[in-house]
Structure formats: structure tokens, C-alpha cells
Subunit: 92 residues, 3 copies
Amino acid sequence: MKLLITIVQDQDVPALIEALMEHDFRATKLASTGGFLRAGNTTLLIGVEDGRLELVQNLIKKTCKGRQQGDSHVSVGGATVFSVNVERFERI
Amino acid sequence: MKLLITIVQDQDVPALIEALMEHDFRATKLASTGGFLRAGNTTLLIGVEDGRLELVQNLIKKTCKGRQQGDSHVSVGGATVFSVNVERFERI
Amino acid sequence: MKLLITIVQDQDVPALIEALMEHDFRATKLASTGGFLRAGNTTLLIGVEDGRLELVQNLIKKTCKGRQQGDSHVSVGGATVFSVNVERFERI
Ligand SMILES: Nc1ncnc2c1ncn2[C@@H]1O[C@@H]2COP(=O)(O)O[C@H]3[C@@H](O)[C@H](n4cnc5c(N)ncnc54)O[C@@H]3COP(=O)(O)O[C@H]2[C@H]1O
Ligand SMILES: Nc1ncnc2c1ncn2[C@@H]1O[C@@H]2COP(=O)(O)O[C@H]3[C@@H](O)[C@H](n4cnc5c(N)ncnc54)O[C@@H]3COP(=O)(O)O[C@H]2[C@H]1O
Ligand SMILES: Nc1ncnc2c1ncn2[C@@H]1O[C@@H]2COP(=O)(O)O[C@H]3[C@@H](O)[C@H](n4cnc5c(N)ncnc54)O[C@@H]3COP(=O)(O)O[C@H]2[C@H]1O
């Protein structure tokens, strides 16, 4: 299993979560702030079985778009994704 | 050392944190939201020495209960726990 | 790449973020709460290329100070840093 720590722009969150839930993925949402633009964004925790990683990456690509943000039109990517190994997963 | 990324229901958080502190564990609390029920829950970060993992898992089992939630009585587990390897721990 | 999950005191966050941005690091900020003192603190996610780990650790040491906090003057460290391996990093 991998835990995807996924940072996306707030406006893409509803579409991404809807797509994840429809495909029977599980996700937890955390409100966050970007270090550079100091604007609100969203950090999603998505625990995914190894065999389904490609599908979740495709759903992220389909729903999260790059944009220009802030007064100085800084380019912000659709999603920043850190994939981390889960040593042990437990649902108690 | 492992970092336990632990998602629990809000009502179990006070009892879990009290049990963790009494047993000299350390924890950090993050407010979060479930992707499916869109209801508030809590994500705890618990950095634990490898030798004490079983004790912390027992404390989670003792204090976090599964319940039915939401209008459609969806069953929500007591805790969802991702255990991740810590390459390096530093207290500066 | 490593993901540094870094817990710092709120008052050190502006100086740390400024130092990180100046040195072309990227960071995401999450509001959090300490389990013991139940006071607000900040959890930063900092994804760092392996070759630049030492520089980011020095920036954390320079900007985050230990203090006595709370009525019972508990000593709180400058920063608690969990370094975790990133299996895969993607900017979509
Ligand atoms: N030190 C710096 N110097 C010059 N330009 C900088 C910069 N830091 C960020 N930027 C630019 O500003 C955009 C917004 O960054 P922000 O930190 O607000 O919001 C970021 C941050 O919250 C998160 N993020 C990206 N890379 C990260 C990393 N390595 N570690 C932690 N968080 C990261 O994802 C959001 C979007 O990042 P993205 O790369 O698409 O887009 C970034 C990037 O194009
Ligand atoms: N692999 C994973 N990655 C990231 N976070 C995870 C996760 N597995 C669980 N979580 C987190 O733990 C909470 C409780 O999950 P649980 O599986 O006990 O209980 C779940 C499960 O029984 C059900 N559920 C969740 N997603 C579903 C989906 N896509 N389809 C059908 N049922 C779902 O609804 C309950 C509440 O879900 P909700 O999302 O509100 O809240 C979830 C979510 O915040
Ligand atoms: N292994 C770990 N896993 C997850 N998060 C961790 C962690 N170690 C530290 N933290 C986070 O870092 C903050 C500062 O910890 P520090 O060890 O410097 O400073 C701590 C420590 O000196 C003391 N302390 C914490 N837990 C204790 C306990 N169970 N018994 C006695 N003293 C405790 O109180 C200070 C404030 O603790 P607080 O919980 O409010 O805030 C903690 C907590 O949010």
C-alpha cells in the first residue's frame, strides 16, 4: 500500500473527491496553505493498494488543472503528489 | 521509529490523547474531513519507537470505537492507521 | 527525495517559511495542536531533494528556537522533524 500525500488547489477538490469516491477509493482532507503564495490549498491523504496506483493518478490528472494564481500570475501545477510506502495498514 | 498517521472519530480523541500522554507517548493533532461522509474527523501524527508499537496500538483499540454515522447509517471504523518508516528523527 | 514532516512553534513559522522560500525550497503549512500542552502549533510538509537536506536542516535550526511554554513552564523544542522516504514524486 502507498499513502499519497496530494496537494491540490481548492477549486479542484470537489471533482477529485467525487471521482475518488465513485471508484471506491478512500480519502481524508486537510486544509493547508502554500508556503510561497500564502494562499489556501488542500492536502489529501489517499491510502491506495499498489495495484490501483495508476487509476488514482489518472483521476488526479483528469480533475486537477494547472493555473496562474496571485497578482504576479505565478504558475501553480494541478497537483503535487508525494507517494510514501505504508509499512502496515490497520483498520481498527 | 514509525510515524503512525491515525484517522479517528472526533468523539474518541480526548480519551485517546489522554491515554497516549499517560503512557509517555507524543502526538500532534490535525483537524480533517472524511472524503465519503464529508464529516469532520481527526488525523493524529504519533511518532513511536519500534519497541512500543504494540502498546500504542492497544491504546488506540481501547479508546476508539466503530459506529454508524450519517443519515444512511454508514459503518465507520474506530481508527484507520497508516504506519510509515521514519528515516531520521530529530528534535532541534 | 525526502518528505520532512516538521512540527514547530507558531511564532517561528514566518521566519522559517521566509528562509525556505529564499533558498528555493517548497513547503505546505498545516495548522495543528500539541497533544500534551493542547496549544496550537504548526506542521510543515517540506519535500526536499536528498542533496539539499543539510541546508534545510540548518535553516530550521537557525529560525526555530526552544522555549518554556504553558503555566507549568514545560520546555518545548525548536522543531520536531520526521524525515520520510518519498517513493515517487509527481507534479501533475
Ligand atoms: N521557493 C519558491 N520560489 C519560487 N517559486 C516558488 C517557490 N515555492 C513555490 N513556488 C511556485 O509557486 C507556486 C505556489 O506555491 P505554494 O507554496 O503557494 O503552493 C505549493 C505548496 O503548497 C505545494 N508544494 C509544491 N512543492 C512542494 C514541496 N516540495 N514540498 C511541500 N509542498 C510543496 O504545492 C503547491 C503548488 O506548488 P506548485 O509547484 O505547483 O506551484 C508553486 C511554484 O510554481
Ligand atoms: N485508504 C484511506 N485513505 C485515506 N483516508 C482513509 C482511508 N480509509 C479510511 N480513511 C479515513 O478514515 C475515515 C473512516 O474510514 P472507515 O473505513 O472506517 O469508514 C468509511 C467507510 O466505511 C465508508 N466509505 C469511505 N469511502 C467509501 C467509498 N468510496 N465507497 C463506499 N464507502 C466508503 O464510509 C466511512 C466513512 O468514510 P469517510 O471518508 O467519511 O472517513 C474516512 C476517511 O477519512
Ligand atoms: N513523537 C512525536 N509524535 C508526534 N508529535 C510530536 C512528537 N514529539 C513531539 N511532537 C510534537 O511537537 C511538539 C513539541 O514537542 P517537544 O518534544 O519539543 O516538547 C514537548 C515535550 O517536552 C513535552 N511533552 C510532550 N508529550 C509529553 C508526555 N506524554 N509526557 C511528558 N511531557 C511531554 O511537552 C512539550 C509540548 O508537547 P506538545 O504535545 O504540546 O507538542 C509537541 C507535539 O505537537
